[in-house]
Amino acid sequence: MARTVIPFGPQHPVFPEPIQLKLECEDERIVGVVPVIGYISRGIEKAAELNPFRNNIFLCERVCGICSFMHALCYCQGIEDMMKVEVPSRARFLRVFWAELSRMHSHLLWLGLLADSFGFESLFMQVWRAREIILDISEMTSGHRIIQSTNVIGGVRRDIDEEMAQKVEEMLAQFKELADRSILPTILNDPTIKERTVGKGILTKEQAELLAAVGPTLRGSGVASDMRMTEYAAYKEIGFEPIVETAGDSYARTLVRVKEIYQSLDIILKALSMMPEGDIAVRVTGRPEGEVVSRVEQPRGELIYYVKGNGTANLERLKIGTPTFANIPSLLVMLPGCELADVPVITLSIDPCIACCER
């Protein structure tokens, strides 16, 4: 049968960002995929070598606007590790609070985009309406809706007082009510969602391990791997169990993310109730020297920072290993065999973040 190459993207309605997939098709069936990336590469790794190391926090936050807090967290943890700084425990709990807040907002954003990709407009609207509550909490506690920008080397910049914590709990209860009423039952029961996602884009456990998938893509295939198990920040005190689904299809990945929204909600409430009194930051002096690898769990998966300092105010090298970069190879396994109309849903099911990927 004749083969045709169909370019999917770079400007496609389901992606807010430019990425191109060159799909090799036999009629409607995909037989091969070549990803074309690089439309929005900026060269942040080089700029990080030119800036003083403290300013890099703000640059790292803008690697990706959706998971900006995790990028800054990973960078700060790396530098703290290198300079042997002990972060106060209140700061560690506050970091967990904002990290889980941005995880919730990222998963809700993705859920809305997924609903939009198969034409479920009302779910998209409902999800984004619920997400605004999370963004309000973020603005109330940190000063900005999406780029929290509260990390500094040695702790955090803002504190949450008793009154604010109470307000956060009220808003989260409001969110939970909205999610329980409209989002969760729709995801769990709606036949149209299942029709579009069950059995689509299967990634087996062996393939996922070999292709080094990360995050919900990996956990949806039955591998219990989550960087929060390494107990950075305050996850040791709060306790953490990864969420695993075994089916390995788009629906399993959706379920992992939906359950993680609820898990994050619990972690936030726990962090607020367990938060110890004390300082929120320690003063850090000196220059970083040595090399270190720092890892955190982003909403999309594992984020690796390799930092090398040479005893000056500028870093020798900063390498950012992002989850989408690691997840693109698994697309090459998921897509062949599926139909052209399923490509948007399957591509979205890895939660691509191109700004992260190309840096």
Binding site: N51, N55, F58, E139, G143, H144, R157, R181, P185
Partner: protein
């Protein structure tokens, strides 16, 4: 799809959630980060803000006794507010408004009395 019915009924008879933005303005939260203000009384033009600004939005001219602040380069991170040794920089809760021209703000300081 019976589980949708309560949601549909509730949304049908409740007020719209839409913020009627240009007519009804909701103020940002008091902690929100926004535009910078320089206090000409407190500032001694040391230039610390200019050195720690990640976006090069502040240029301090010590001889000319001016500070050039570009709100179109500023990323509203608040690094300068915390890094100012004299605490001369404060943050508004609002961003600078959209504009047709990119205009830098020039803050002129009175001549030194010392």
């Amino acid at each position: 799809m019976p589980w949708m019915l309560p949601t549909i009924m509730k949304n049908l008879f409740s007020r719209p959630v839409t913020r009627r933005y240009p007519y009804v303005k909701r103020p940002p939260f008091p902690e929100a980060r926004g535009k910078l203000h320089f206090d000409t009384e407190k500032c001694n033009l040391c230039g610390a803000c200019s050195r720690i600004c990640p976006a090069n939005a502040i240029i301090v001219d010590k001889e000319g006794r001016t500070i050039k602040y570009n709100p179109f380069a500023c990323i509203y991170c608040g690094n300068c507010v915390e890094g100012c040794p004299k605490k001369a920089i404060t943050m508004d809760i609002l961003y600078s408004p959209p504009a047709i021209q990119k205009e830098e703000e020039v803050i002129t300081f009175p001549p030194s009395t010392k």
